[in-house]
Each structure stands twice: as structure tokens, then as C-alpha cells.
């Protein structure tokens, strides 16, 4: 596949990291390029690279100054050398398998008890609570990036009908809460102070330290939310023990 190279800018992020920025914006095409480039770097890391991390429209490579200094000509800084390597890499086309993400279906209970701000959002946007739910579950969202806290996925874009800015003052938010901030939607993997408008909660674990893969979502995935009743929420959260099902329980 012939993959076009988007215009970019490269700048240092301090003395041990370098960022490629494709435009300081939230844009699907740009984000696709970022994630493809990220996957490419994971498959074939640059020499001296510690890790790479994608954001909405930029990709950052963290590197080991000491390891690189030994390899490069004395007059050149490690940064200049990394920059050259990165630019060379950007000239290479990305593979199709570096572009495609997974589709995940995520249950959300939009009941009042889990949806701190859904009524306020509906009132502000002059629609019914049902319409908020319908709109939020009507389309697939792209996971643009993970950040803020372990496993927190920035997804978008929500329909204008349910878009609402974040709160001025952060409040304490429960694990699994699903929120809206501007045109973004996201799920809090851990309890935390936060400013997103909370419209529901998922019983799924977004972040699990015991897991081989600690986060449920990855940048580049697609997410389809679906509405579940409260009973299902608790059942998914605490599945009945297999003994109980077989009638062996107490």
C-alpha cells in the first residue's frame, strides 16, 4: 500500500526525548499516521530507543543518551543524531498491519446512580436522557491515545448533540466511570479526581495490574458502547461463582 507522508515538525522534549508533531489537532487521518508510525517503531525500534508513545497528533521517542553517545561522531549531539534517524524512518512506508486496530464492545450502565452528570448534560443540551444514551451508543469511537492515568483512553468524537466542556472544578470520580469532555469520551480506569461529565459506568476492568496486558484498550482500537441495565452491571462486575450456578453453593 502506498502510504502518503503527512507534513510534520520535529522538536526536542528536553534532552532525552524527541517528538514528531503532525499538526497539534484531533484528526483521524493524522492519528492513524501517528499510530502506524508508533507500531512501526515498536516492531523495529531505533538504536538507543527506550520507548515510544503516541498522542493525538504527535509521537514521542524516549532515548538513552549514554548508550547513543558512544555510537555517534563527537561533534554531533545525540538529539541531532536521533532526529536524523527518525526522519529517515519517516520516509519508509508503513505496513497495513501497523494501521488496523481492534473493535471492542463495552457495556455501560447509564442509570442515574452511575451517571452523576447525565441529567445536567441533557438539560444543558436540551435533549432527553434517553437521547443522550442513544447518541452515545450510536457510533463507534476511535481510541486516539492513552494518557492521563494508566489505561485512560481518549476517544472521539462524540456527536455535537452530547458534547459538553469539562467541569471547572474536578470532583472525585469512581472507577469505570464513562465521561464526556468536549468532543471526547473516555473511561476512568481508576478512581481519581477528574473534570469529565459523567454519563455512566462500565463494569469492565479497564486496567488490571495482574494482566499480561494491563490495559483493556490500546491506541488505534475502536469502541462501541452498549447500554445495560443495573442488574447486568453487577452481574458482569461480580459473576456468580460456578458452584452457585451448579446449585452447590450455600
Amino acid at each position: 500500500m502506498n502510504y502518503p507522508i503527512l507534513p510534520y515538525r520535529i522538536f526536542p522534549l528536553g534532552d532525552a526525548a524527541i517528538t514528531v508533531d503532525f499538526g497539534n489537532c484531533i484528526d483521524e487521518t493524522i492519528n492513524k499516521e501517528v499510530i502506524a508510525r508508533f507500531n512501526q517503531l515498536r516492531q523495529q525500534p531505533l538504536p538507543g530507543m527506550i520507548e515510544a508513545a503516541p498522542a493525538y497528533s504527535s509521537l514521542t521517542v524516549y532515548y538513552d543518551i549514554m548508550a547513543l553517545k558512544k555510537k555517534i561522531p563527537g561533534h554531533q549531539t545525540v538529539y541531532e543524531w536521533m532526529r536524523q534517524l527518525l526522519e529517515e524512518r519517516l520516509q519508509q512506508p508503513v505496513q497495513q498491519d501497523q494501521i488496523t486496530g481492534r473493535l471492542l464492545h463495552i457495556p455501560v450502565c447509564y442509570d442515574k446512580e452511575f451517571a452523576l452528570d447525565i441529567q445536567q448534560l441533557a438539560t444543558t443540551k436540551n435533549i432527553s436522557v434517553d437521547e443522550v444514551i442513544q447518541t452515545h451508543t450510536a457510533k463507534q469511537y476511535k481510541v486516539y491515545m492513552l494518557g492521563f492515568m494508566p489505561g485512560f483512553a481518549y476517544m472521539g468524537e462524540v456527536d455535537e448533540k452530547i458534547s459538553m466542556p469539562r467541569k471547572a472544578q474536578p470532583v472525585n470520580i469512581t472507577t469505570g466511570s464513562v465521561g464526556i469532555a468536549g468532543k471526547q469520551t473516555g473511561i476512568y480506569p481508576l478512581a481519581s479526581p477528574g473534570g469529565w461529565q459523567i454519563i455512566g459506568r462500565t463494569p469492565l476492568k479497564l486496567f488490571d495490574t495482574a494482566g499480561e496486558e494491563p490495559t483493556l484498550l490500546r491506541a488505534g482500537d475502536r469502541v462501541q458502547f452498549y447500554s445495560i441495565p443495573t442488574n447486568d452491571f453487577y452481574e458482569i462486575q461480580n459473576p456468580p461463582s460456578p458452584f452457585m450456578e451448579r446449585g452447590l453453593g450455600g
Binding site: L13, D15, N24, E51, A53, M66, T77, V78, L146, G151
Partner: protein
Amino acid sequence: MSLKVIKAGILDTIQDMGRYGQQHLGINPAGAMDKYAMQVTNILVGNKPGEATIEMHFPASVFMFTQPALIALGGADFSASINGEPVPGFHPIIAGKNDVLQFHKPVNGARAYMAVAGGFVIREWMNSCSTHLKAKAGGYNGRALQKDDELFLRQSSSFSIKQNDFIILPWQADAGWGNDQKEIFVLPGNEWERLTTESKENFSMTSFIITQQSDRMGYRLNNIPLHSLSNEEVISSAVSFGTVQLLPDGRLIVLMADHQTTGGYPRVAHVITAHHSKLAQMKAGNKIHFRFTDQHTAEELFIKQQQHLLQLQNACTFKLEQYFSDKR
């Protein structure tokens, strides 16, 4: 063989060089605030420099050794004593069975480190022993040390310690190495050019007080509010240890070891890696004076610091081997 916590400190955690390779999942590296001091303490006891240590804040825990152990303290000076007798930082020390280590007052610095020869028995989470407080993972049960915690020590094969009285070994590492320079060197951040001329001058000409709102995540500064020429939003992008961000109220925050992986505030500057250690030893009330440097100097200073650690490692390995072979 273990180290028992008799009394808990305010925030004592297991930390190493940090957890790398997971920032794309939103998992920040954590790790020691002062990685330089942490590595020196390890080197003094013959460990590999990146071995997990205890990072302590004041008031720090009171510890008891259930067996003799070779230890080193470094970083901040909290006026340590063993069985009531003062012990210096940056020296290898042999603590005897049932010896009690405590810290009396914060003399200077903000974070002290303790390394134990052989290291602690800690299960790694994602290739690091560092405590990730937010994720409640890594380190000792994913949390700060509490009363009655027992940290098991790996047997150090190289040194057999038989004596019961504590001994301060007669050599030391240079505690202040590289920290004589008062200023904190920075490189311009991507959004530096957004600042007004006056704000740029203020940033480089004035010193800023570190406020009480300062912890392992970041230091908030009580600076003259700085102004941006543009209101263009910064779409969430990577930040790093040492990134200086401009908050909406015009104040600055310097990101530290437990920083988020990404941020949406203008990045006006980045503290150079070689000065992270100095920065980590600053606390609320201290003044920060930033001075711009260039990429070349930043890299050179870091490499010098690393070379110093290598030399120290060679010297300490030799001294320890000599000391323990004489005792055999």
C-alpha cells in the same frame, strides 16, 4: 534476613530507575526522584546501580535489622542514627542484628535513599520494582511502607558479615558531586515562543519559590503569573520528568517522577536530566532559578554524571572486595 518497619514514615516507597516501555498505555515510569543519589547508595554497597532502594521523605520510618546487613544512606540528610549513634550519609555501613535505624531531623534535601547489599526481595511489575502509588502496583504491595512491614533481603553472596556491632566503613562517596551549581538548567519547550517578551524575561531573570503543593508528581511554583501570546489549545501530547508547564492561571508546574504521561498545558521548558537530582532534593519554600542552556551542554553534563558513577563503581567494588577479603 529482613528489615522491619517499627514505625512508619510519611511516604517511604520502594523505587528503582523507573518503569519504561509502558507510557503508550498511560503508565508513567515513576522511579526514584533522585536517581543519582539512589545509584550512589547502591554502588556503595556493591549492588548494581539500578537496584531497588527505599526512598524516604521526612519524617522517615524507623527500621530494625533482624540480621546484620551492609547498607548505605544517601540523598537528603535526615540526621540518621543507629542505636542512637549518628551515622553519616554516603558511607557503607554495616548494621548489626537488632540494630535500630532512625532519622531525627531534616538537615538538608528532600529525599533520602537506603540501599542494602544484595537488594530487597520485591516482585517486579512490568520490569520494575518501583512503587506506582496511583496504580497500587509495584514495590511493596503497591503502597508506601507501613508499621510492621517486613522487607526481606536477598543474601549478598560477596560479603559475609559476622559482627554484631555496627561499623561505618572508612570511605565515602562525594555527596555534593555536580550539585554545587545553584541554578537549574533548562532547555526551551515547544511552547516557549508563545510567552510574551516580558514573561520570557521573568522566567529567566527571577527565582521562583516552590509551594506546599509539591510532591512526587510535580512542584507548583509561586511565580509571577506568565502570559501567553496565543490562546491556541495544546492538544494532549507527551511530557516528561522535568517538563515545566504553564497552568491556566499563569503559574508553573515542574513535573517530577510520578508525572502523567501526557499533558495539555504549554510546555515552556524542560529541566535537563543532569539536574533532575538537584531538583529532586528541593522542597517547599526553596527557590528555583532557571537558566537556559543548550542541547550539547545538557548531554555533556549528563554523560559526565554517568562517568562519575562508573568511576565510583570501580572504586567501591575494589574497596569492598579488599575490606571483606581482609575480614575473611
